[in-house]
Symmetry: C2
Subunit: 125 residues, 2 copies
Amino acid sequence: MKSVRNTTAKTEIQELIANSPVALSHTEIQSATNGLCDRVTIYRILERLTVEGLIHKVVNVDGVVKYAGCHSCSEKHNHNHIHFSCQKCKSVTCLEDVEPSYKLPKKYTVSEMNFTLSGLCPQCS
Amino acid sequence: MKSVRNTTAKTEIQELIANSPVALSHTEIQSATNGLCDRVTIYRILERLTVEGLIHKVVNVDGVVKYAGCHSCSEKHNHNHIHFSCQKCKSVTCLEDVEPSYKLPKKYTVSEMNFTLSGLCPQCS
DNA sequence: TAGCTTAATGCAACAATGTTGCAAAAGTAA
DNA sequence: TTACTTTTGCAACATTGTTGCATTAAGCTA
Ligand SMILES: [Mn+2]
Ligand SMILES: [Mn+2]
Ligand SMILES: [Zn+2]
Ligand SMILES: [Zn+2]
C-alpha cells in the first residue's frame, strides 16, 4: 500500500500553482519558491501532483512546459479546454470556458487533446 | 542581398520530409540520412526550410519537436489543421482536412494555432 | 573553365531541461 | 518514541538545442 505524504515543498508548490492566474514553468516555480527544495524535487513534485490530478501539464507551442491547476480532475485528467499563449508576455492561460469542436474523418481513437492558440492576450493587445 | 543556396544536404532533407507520411523529428532525420551532415547542420537546415515555408514545426503533446511538409505556404505559414499524435507508434500526422472551430472572448488576438489530438491512429486501433 | 564572394558546413564548446541511483532525511501510523 | 516507507538532496548522466569560428563549397561572372 503506497500512501501519499504531504510535505512542505509539495503543499507550497501546489498552492503556488493553484493561486496563479497563468500556468507556471519549472524555472518559474524554482524562482518563486527560492531555495525551498532541490530542482530535482520540483520535477518529482510536479510529476506527483499531475498523477494525483491536482495540476496539469501544458506544452506550449514554443516547447516550454508549464503547469496549471486542475478544477475537476479527481480520478483522471479530463481537459477539453483551449490554452492561450501570449507571444509578448509569454503567459500561458487556461481558457476553461472555450471548448473547440472538430470532426475527425477516419478511424482515429481520441483520448486526449491539446489545443493552444497564440497571439496577444488582453493585457498585451 | 542574401541569396539561397541549394546544397545536397538541404535537398535531401527536404525530400525526406516531403515524402514522409508522418512528421519527423531531428533524431529521426539524423538516423535516416546516416551521416549526410553534422547534427548542427540538420538543425540549421530545418530552420532554413521553415523560414522558406517549405516545412513546418510541430510540437507534440509530449514535447517532442517534429517537422512536416507544407503544402501551400509560400510567403508565410498559414496552418489551421489538426495534428494527430499516436500514443502507441508515436507517429505524428497532419490532418490537413480537419479544421477545428472555437469561439474566443473578443479580447484575444489570435495569430497562430497548434491543435493536437492524441490517441490511437488507424494502424494502431 | 577559373576566380570571386559569401552562404553553408564541421567542430568544439556551451546551455537548458529532464532523468536516474542511492544514501540520508522526514512524514505517518502504531 | 519507534518502525516503516515515502520523499529529498546530490551527483552524475542524457537529450536537445545554440553559438563562435575557421573551413568548405555553391553560384555568379569574366
Ligand atoms: Mn489548462
Ligand atoms: Mn501540420
Ligand atoms: Zn500577454
Ligand atoms: Zn499509431
